[in-house]
Symmetry: none
Subunit: 140 residues, 4 copies
């Protein structure tokens, strides 16, 4: 344990999300899929900034977000580590967030001329793509 990771995140300029959000989402995803197991050390702020060719402040902001969300924890002088998973949100809160996300999504696609089934198909495809990668331990 306590491996040192090199996260695989891609910054997409055309993405609607700001860069720091892409980092947060990317790392959250890698933790969720098991690519970053508990206890793994995240790359340093400067290191990741260099790797992604972005400003160090942006990485720092992303790490701050992850810390607030309880997904990673800092150990003084050692760096950031993937934290023990814990139920962060109440069921009620989770349902609320799902609802907000669903409403936002529907609002965005409502004016596109797609059939309900086609939209669902796309969502299913994207969701199952995540489930099919539960853990990916094999790599350098």
């Amino acid at each position: 344990m306590s491996n040192i990771s090199n996260v695989k995140i891609q910054i997409v300029t055309g993405d609607a999300r700001p860069i720091f959000k892409q980092i947060v989402d990317g790392i959250r995803m890698e933790i969720a899929t098991g690519e970053l197991p508990v206890g793994t050390k995240l790359p340093s702020v400067r290191g990741l900034a260099m790797q992604l060719m972005i400003n160090a402040n942006t990485v720092a902001k992303a790490y701050g977000e992850l810390t607030v969300q309880g997904l990673v924890e800092s150990r003084q002088g050692l760096g950031l580590f993937v934290a023990e998973p814990r139920q962060l949100l109440s069921e009620e809160e989770q349902k609320k967030r799902l609802n907000i996300a669903v409403n936002g999504f529907v609002n965005e696609v409502a004016y596109l001329e797609f059939k309900t089934e086609d939209i669902l198909q796309e969502v299913r495809k994207a969701l199952t793509k995540l489930d099919s990668t539960p853990n990916a331990d094999d790599r350098d």
Copy 2:
């Protein structure tokens, strides 16, 4: 025809979306659900601004968005009216936007502890709610 509408929009200050976006989404939804049938006159810029207690320019910006999206059209000196629906975007562009929306949505719900099927169920529910209300009943 050419009814005068009184849109039912609520501006939520805690909302992540800016005010003008809330208006755009709100009216887009009312058009999608048929609450605002084709030909309906939207409330005036100044009137809606007064009603929502916001600046008139903010409403004007929202109305501009709706006009660009082809959902409403202005008749000089008369006001804005709900336009005939038409396919504005190329299929390619529509697919692109669907993809962006799907990715954004999946990113938001992926870390919530819901099963794929439950999520899909919610999306389906929200989508079919639109389809089932092609045109609203006539009101005063």
Copy 3:
């Protein structure tokens, strides 16, 4: 790549078009002629406003238009960049807009005493001028 541009736009007060439209047209033309290749950074909102001696909001509005039209895209905190060209509008919509433009044009020139062929000649000249400059020479 990712050159920084200095657009050459002149604001004409006597022009029938509003200022923001003149900016949109000017930049659209520079993109069409290849003077602003893909990836070029546009001047900042405040910078261009200063250069043209107009209000920053007016430039922002013009930039917003260009963004909606898909000609440029913003990268948060970095600025606006000339986007990859793509077909945004459906064929139907494109035909509709061509028709509107043609009708407007014909209406404007019909009462002038020019022969049809002379008018066509002028239009052809102006159109081919664009086609013959797919990409401009590289500058500093």
Copy 4:
């Protein structure tokens, strides 16, 4: 001569032009094509307003424009009549206007993905449609 006309103008709500401009253009066109020969009496302001279902002030404004342009002339107490044609613009002025119109037109269609020849074809079609109707005396 001195027939009383009933102009055939259609007010198109989706048109970009304001209503009074549509009237001016429409009548100018009917005069150019000979549908309204010299000496013809135009419908009264109120009459045309009723016919077109628009505000009388709008018709009055259009008639004012036509009068200023010298296309019609008012005879005190009798109404408006189509005036003798006369060269209103110098050649230089005409060329200037043609150029402005061409530039505006090209700018509008430049971002649409049409071939030069297709655009020219449409323009030619619209222009010849006018020429082919030099006079249309036969009607009620």
